[in-house]
Each structure stands twice: as structure tokens, then as C-alpha cells.
């Protein structure tokens, strides 16, 4: 992968296409989790365009993936701030509620999901990002912090604050 990144840094579009194919799904899902599925495509696309433009300035090709994630997080932040709104999350998405652990009854799961949607929409962009990076992308706190460009302590603080709000939403359910 390092060599592919180096080739893309040298301006070879075919190498960059390999990177888009490899990291595209991951960046799309990350954006989808932070900004919602409606805006995820735009965020992911902007992420790769920005990455291509600034790729020659990436000093350590080995760090391409966290660098790309950071761009995606920043683009997500810009998207949400620019539109001054939180994405509306549909609870009707097929299978969404079925994946809730511990929700044996569909209605209960749907209610829990709705509560979590509301709580998640109330999180700051940075809180959303850290919780997605840590719990969904399976990054360590240190890796999540690196992807967001913040100190580990800051990431922990944001994660705790986000968890408090989401747990409170779950706690309020039957």
C-alpha cells in the first residue's frame, strides 16, 4: 500500500484509483455514521478529492489511512456546520432495528433506536466522530484521537460525554 500511495503522490491517477477502491467503502461508512446516509456520498467524495489534491504533502505514506480518516471527519464536520442541521435518521431503514442487541421485541427496539437517534443527533460532530471511530471502526482511543487530530485525553473526554448522553437515552427506555 505504501508504494501505491507514493505513486499517487507522484500524480499517477491509476494508483489513486486503487486507493479509492480500497478505502472508498470504509470512508463512505464512516461518513454515513457521522452525517447520515443522505450526505455520506458527498462527504466521501469530497474526502477523496481533498486527499488527491493534498497527497503530495503527506509526509509519511504509511500514515495515509489515518490521514484520510481525518479528512473524512473534517469534511463531515464541515458538512454539518455548513448546513446547520443534524441529519434526519430514518428508523424505517430495513433491518436497522433488528440489529439492536438485547431488543427482542421489534417495537421496543424501534423505540430504543428512536431514542438513540435523537440522542446521537444531539451530539457534537466531534463527539459523533469519536464514538463512531472507537465503537464502529474499532479504533483504539489513541487511533481515534489521531484520526481527529486531538489529544488522547480530549478524545477520552469526548467519548465519555457522548456515552453519557447515549446511555441516558437507553436508560430512559423500558
Amino acid at each position: 500500500m505504501r508504494e501505491i500511495v507514493r505513486e499517487a503522490q507522484a500524480g499517477r491517477t491509476e494508483a489513486f484509483e486503487v486507493l479509492v477502491q480500497h478505502f472508498g467503502p470504509q470512508m463512505y461508512r464512516l461518513a454515513s455514521a457521522i452525517v447520515g446516509p443522505d450526505d455520506a456520498r458527498d462527504v466521501a467524495q469530497e474526502t477523496f478529492i481533498a486527499a488527491w489534491r493534498d497527497l503530495p504533502r503527506l509526509r509519511e505514506p504509511d500514515r495515509f489511512e489515518p490521514w484520510l480518516r481525518r479528512i473524512a471527519v473534517n469534511r463531515s464536520r464541515n458538512m454539518l456546520r455548513g448546513r446547520q442541521r443534524h441529519p434526519a435518521i430514518s428508523i424505517d431503514r430495513p433491518g436497522a432495528a433488528d440489529h439492536l442487541a438485547g431488543a427482542g421485541d421489534f417495537r421496543e427496539a424501534a423505540h430504543a433506536r428512536q431514542a438513540l437517534d435523537g440522542a446521537f443527533a444531539g451530539l457534537s460532530v466531534d463527539q459523533r466522530a469519536v464514538i463512531v471511530l472507537h465503537y464502529a471502526a474499532d479504533l483504539s482511543i489513541r487511533e481515534a484521537a489521531e484520526s481527529m487530530g486531538v489529544a488522547v485525553g480530549t478524545a477520552k473526554s469526548r467519548l465519555n460525554a457522548a456515552l453519557r448522553r447515549l446511555r441516558a437515552a437507553v436508560e430512559g427506555q423500558p
Binding site: T13, W52, R53, R70, Q127, Y135, A137, R167
Partner: protein, 349 residues
């Protein structure tokens, strides 16, 4: 009531579920279609991400009254429109003062570059106007270094360092817009070295104006000041500012001392508007319990002694110019020595 493990499991499951979905059709094709039309930004320039503190210069100028766009161009000859162009051509310049810097003979870059003059920072932080046409901008302080562009008469620049004597000339490290009309936060807002005139004499290729310092120091004002203006105007004296803790964004270089690279928090104004002031916590400062949205009163300073030792941690070599910019960023960092939480506001979105 559910237990914490159960709640965490539900939260985890919910977040994982959000991070799902297949890549939309034609995504790769659409991205590549844009890529083919998008030029890459080449290295060798000091760009916005690495030098955000410096790039705040023009915004700072607006606030502290040194707005670059407000420079009086009366009496300046030549084309008043800045017309930088990319050229590494060694041919003689059309400048009226070729004796100052005929752009030299562009060739292999000498291995030893002249040191930067930290400290002292004499004229650094000042604004200046180019008063000759096609003034050569080199990537280091000497005629032998590559000519990265030429600046037209009337181009507004900010002095980042200088004068530095080399080859019998006084050199200034200038901060300028790569393209006319570029916003100051553009990645193309960049830096290079120009010869101002014979060593020790009044500059003949640029007109230097002294910096104007702000009357009051707030997070907004400090956040918008250029790195050099901070050092000149604030010195190393402690200053009190108030704001709202937010977060640190978009800084991808790791370095040491670590606390100058990682322990940064963006301080917003109490009304929620961005102040662009990043604060750094000195070692030993108790920051436990600080959280996003906390309204704080902080006492801090720039020019921290530890900053002069700062360096990037990377296995890829960086240019002398980039190293110097890094030191500049560290030196102008607002280092907090005292902090007090006075309230809480919902973090701005």
C-alpha cells in the same frame, strides 16, 4: 433500569449499525472524474495545514489594523495587480533594481542553507509592499536557491522573519498569496525569501511598515494575529483571555515537545463564534475535568522557552524552511499557565 454493560452494548450496536451500507453505484468513477480535473498541490510550499497559525495572518491583520488589502499603493510604480507566476527560469529579471537580486544562477541547491534568525525577530510581523516588478522569491535566503515565483509591484506581503544577511544582501522571509485575491486561509497562501537590498541599508525592493499592535487582547484578537505579530506585540508577558473550550482540529504533524503538538484546544468566544485561538497546556497544569463547552478564563503567554526546541517527529526529511515555520508555530503558541472554569455553554456545532 438497565445496567451499564447492557447500555454500552446497545450503544455499541447502534453505532455499528450506523456505520453500514454499501458504496453507492459509480462512486469510484465519479471520484476519479473529479480527480482528473483536480491538480495536486506540490510540496516545497508551506501550506495551510502545517502553518495554520501563520496563515491566520491576514485575519489578524483585519483585527489589529494591519489589513493587507488596505495598504496604500499610491506612488508605487508598475502594475498594481500582484501577478505572481510560477517560474524557475534563471533569466535576468525585469526588475528596476537588478543589482539587488538578479535571481542568481538557479542550480543545485547548496547543502548548507543559511540559518534563520530566531531570535531576534527584528522586522518580523511587519507588513510590506513590493515596490519593484518581478521581485524574485527564493525558497531560501540566497540567490542560488530556486526561484519559486516572482512578485509584481504592489504585492502585499507579511514579513515572517528578517533581515537575514547573506551574499551581501538583506533577506526577508515573506508571507504572500500565491494567487491574487486568495483568502488568507487558502492552502496557496505561502512563503518564500526575497532580497530587500544591500545588507544594512534601507530596503529598496520592498517598503516595510511597522506592525500595529492591538489595543486590547482577547481570544479573538490573539487567535487572529499572525505568529510574528503575536511575538512582537505580546512578548512573553502573561495575558488573560476568556473563551469556550472546543477542540483541536486538522493538525497532522506529530512532534515534540508533545504537549505543543497534541494538547491543544480551540478556544471559542463566549458567544460561540470561533476565535481561532488554540491553547496549549504547559506541563504540570491540572486540566482534569475540563470538557468541551466549558467557559474558561485562562492566563497564557507566547514565546514559551520550550518552543524553541520543538521539532517534527517524522521519518521524512522536511526542508529548512518548513522546520523554521514549525519553530515559528511553536513559539507563537499560546501556552496556558493558569485556567479556571467559570461556566458551561453548549458546544457550537
Amino acid at each position: 433500569m438497565k445496567d451499564i454493560d447492557s447500555e454500552t452494548q446497545e450503544v455499541t450496536s447502534y453505532v455499528r449499525d450506523r456505520m453500514s451500507g454499501d458504496l453507492p453505484p459509480k462512486f469510484v468513477e465519479d471520484v476519479m472524474s473529479d480527480v482528473y480535473r483536480t491538480p495536486q498541490r506540490r510540496r516545497g510550499w508551506i501550506g495551510w495545514p502545517l502553518f495554520a497559525g501563520i496563515a491566520a495572518a491576514a485575519a489578524g491583520a483585519a483585527l489589529v489594523g494591519i489589513g493587507l488589502s488596505m495598504i496604500d499603493r499610491d506612488g508605487v510604480g508598475g502594475d498594481p495587480t500582484p501577478t505572481p507566476s510560477v517560474s524557475a527560469s534563471p533569466e535576468a529579471s525585469a526588475t528596476p533594481t537588478p543589482a539587488v537580486d538578479p535571481c542568481g544562477a538557479v542550480g543545485p541547491v547548496p547543502p548548507e542553507r543559511p540559518p534563520l534568525s530566531f531570535p531576534p525577530l527584528t522586522d518580523a510581523g511587519s507588513r510590506a509592499t513590493v515596490i519593484v516588478d518581478r521581485l524574485c522569491v527564493h525558497d531560501s535566503a540566497g540567490t542560488k536557491f530556486e526561484v519559486v515565483t516572482r512578485l509584481g509591484a504592489g504585492t502585499d506581503v507579511l514579513l515572517a522573519d528578517g533581515p537575514l544577511a547573506n551574499e551581501g544582501l538583506d533577506w526577508y522571509w515573506v508571507f504572500f498569496s500565491w494567487l491574487p485575491g486568495d483568502p488568507p486561509n487558502s492552502p496557496d497562501f505561502t512563503m518564500g525569501w526575497v532580497a530587500a537590498g544591500p545588507t544594512g541599508q534601507t530596503p529598496t525592493s520592498i517598503r516595510v511598515d511597522p506592525p500595529r499592535c492591538p489595543d486590547t487582547v482577547t481570544a479573538d484578537v490573539v487567535g487572529a494575529m499572525s505568529s510574528l505579530a503575536r511575538l512582537q506585540c505580546l512578548g512573553t508577558a502573561p495575558h488573560e483571555v476568556t473563551g469556550v473550550i472546543h477542540g483541536c482540529t486538522d493538525y497532522f504533524v506529530t512532534g515534540e515537545p508533545e504537549w505543543l503538538f497534541t494538547e491543544c484546544l480551540n478556544l471559542f468566544n463566549p458567544d460561540g463564534t470561533p476565535s481561532n485561538l488554540f491553547i496549549f497546556f504547559a506541563p504540570g497544569l491540572d486540566t482534569a475535568g475540563l470538557d468541551e463547552g466549558d467557559v474558561v478564563r485562562v492566563i497564557g503567554h507566547v514565546g514559551d522557552p520550550a518552543a524553541s526546541e520543538c521539532r517534527a517527529l517524522t521519518d521524512v526529511s522536511i526542508t529548512a524552511l518548513e522546520r523554521a515555520g514549525l519553530v515559528l508555530r511553536c513559539r507563537s503558541a499560546f501556552v496556558v499557565s493558569e485556567i479556571e472554569v467559570t461556566g458551561y455553554l453548549e458546544p457550537p456545532q
